[in-house]
């Protein structure tokens, strides 16, 4: 079995920032990602970020990715990168089972940082298995990563930031966004994103949902309807739109399966996206030496994931016996930074979630 000091699972913004702090402090890092390249979801983020200057606000996600990756290149053998490697199992003694192109192997880790991110939620409606029904992340991958148009006429479902941003990106690619429906009574993403697509003439229909997709081989039309205050569809309010693509963007769910396999405690906190690990202020889970950061601990922005990654990296470093006294001020600043990012009305949900978690920083 391979022996490794720290294993980081997931090389998105959280994992990359954790790696950076651990490497700076002198630890040996093994960074695992199932994709062929590092960066996680940042590769699809062709828009400029908000948040704070320290977390690269006004830069595009894809450029932030380059900055984060290039900061790791100076470490040589201290950093081992395993791409196209899936972690398929985790055990309470910190043994990690991996598969890389049909090669199976196990790693015994001293410390583990889980930065596995999230998966996209879905919704049930009639004919939801027709080709042409996509998750928003898949549409972003097709368009922004591979340059492939998903369709010509799109109905966007969900008005969170992803739904709003992907609508805009579809229009940038010359695709017609017929409308955006939102089941809730109000738009859930940032007003600035919503205004942008409204200015371009896209109707945002609140209290509205998809009743069914229509088509035999693929989506040809979609039937939408109004919802009453109990979220039930109102008979007689149905109308049909001609679309070939239905793009689902109804939120993200933390990918906690590996944490659950290893026996870390998980609880349901709606505001953070569903099942999330129980963590302390140091981002350590209920299993000693196992930490988590980024979307897997609660759905937030990439900027928070980066800060959490750094905090987690420093804490893991300390627990491994490295002297982090010189980083005390930095740690304090990072916690301040998180507080700043979670301030304001757009982060009310996240604050409610952290209140339930008993760790409102």
């Amino acid at each position: 079995m391979k022996q490794r000091e720290v294993v980081i699972i997931g090389a998105g913004p959280g994992g990359l920032c954790a790696a950076q702090k651990l490497l700076e402090g002198g630890a040996k890092v093994c960074l695992i990602d199932r994709n062929a390249s590092l960066g996680g979801q940042l590769i699809k983020q062709t828009h400029k970020f908000f948040g704070s200057e320290k977390q690269y606000a006004s830069k595009r996600g894809i450029d932030i990715m380059e900055i984060l990756i290039s900061s790791l290149t100076q470490y040589g053998d201290q950093l081992e990168i395993m791409t196209e490697t899936s972690v398929v199992g985790m055990y309470s003694d910190k043994v990690i089972a991996c598969v890389k192109k049909d090669k199976f192997f196990k790693i015994q880790a001293q410390s583990i940082i889980l930065a596995t991110g999230a998966s996209e939620k879905s919704i049930p409606f009639e004919n939801n298995d027709l080709p042409g029904v996509y998750a928003a992340g898949a549409v972003q991958t097709l368009m922004n990563e591979y340059g492939v148009k998903p369709g010509d006429n799109v109905l966007m479902v969900g008005s969170g930031n992803i739904g709003l941003i992907v609508s805009y990106q579809l229009m940038q690619a010359g695709i017609n966004v017929k409308a955006l429906v939102e089941a809730a009574p109000s738009i859930s993403g940032y007003l600035v994103h919503a205004s942008k697509i409204r200015r371009l003439g896209v109707d945002i229909l609140t209290n509205t949902s998809v009743k069914r997709a229509i088509g035999s081989e693929q989506v040809k039309q979609v039937e939408i309807w109004d919802l009453d205050p109990t979220w039930q569809g109102i008979e007689g309010s149905e109308r049909i739109l001609d679309v070939d693509t239905i793009c689902i963007s109804v939120g993200l769910a933390p990918l906690t399966e590996l944490l659950q396999q290893l026996g870390a405690e998980v609880r349901y906190i709606k505001e953070l996206g569903g099942n999330v690990p129980v963590i302390d202020k140091r981002y350590e889970t209920t299993v000693k030496g196992v930490y988590a950061c980024g979307d897997v601990v609660g759905i937030e922005e990439a900027s928070s994931a980066m800060v959490e990654g750094k905090i987690t990296g420093l804490n893991a470093l300390e627990d491994l016996g490295y002297d982090i006294r010189a980083s005390r001020l930095e740690m304090k600043a990072l916690h301040e930074e998180l507080k700043f990012l979670r301030d304001g009305p757009h982060a009310a949900k996240v604050r409610a979630g952290y209140l339930k978690r008993g760790m409102l920083t």
């Binding site: 079995m1 899936s86 972690v87 398929v88 199992g89 985790m90 055990y91 089972a97 598969v99 049909d102 090669k103 199976f104 192997f105 196990k106 998966s119 996209e120 939620k121 879905s122 919704i123 049930p124 409606f125 009639e126 004919n127 939801n128 298995d129 009743k211 069914r212 569809g233 769910a253 990918l255 399966e257 590996l258 659950q260 396999q261 998980v266 349901y268 709606k270 569903g274 099942n275």
Partner: protein, 94 residues
């Protein structure tokens, strides 16, 4: 809405109607549904259908989502060839 045409679990082709039928019979946990109908046991390991199944249980039985127990998650998260496991074991013996 015709629940027969609403796919909940794409991997194992489980429809909303299938869930309703099982609810009628009294099944009320994800763990049971999984054993009876293989919902959530395909390649995605409930990463797509999981939340929808929880939601449907909550709705049918009138429980808050917090009280709907999630299913157990066991290794492996992906299909792994027995050959790969054997080769790894052989390597360790050497």
């Amino acid at each position: 809405m015709n629940p027969k045409d609403v796919i909940i679990c794409r991997c194992s082709d489980v429809t909303l109607q299938d869930l309703y039928d099982l609810f009628e019979q009294g099944y009320d946990t994800f763990e049971e549904l999984k054993r009876v109908k293989r919902v959530g046991m395909g390649p995605c390991q409930a990463n797509t259908c999981g939340k929808m199944v929880q939601w449907e249980i909550a709705k049918y039985y009138g429980k808050p989502l917090e009280e709907v127990e999630f299913h157990n998650m066991r290794p492996f998260t992906l299909g792994v060839k027995l050959k790969s496991i054997k080769e790894a074991a052989d390597d360790e013996d050497e």
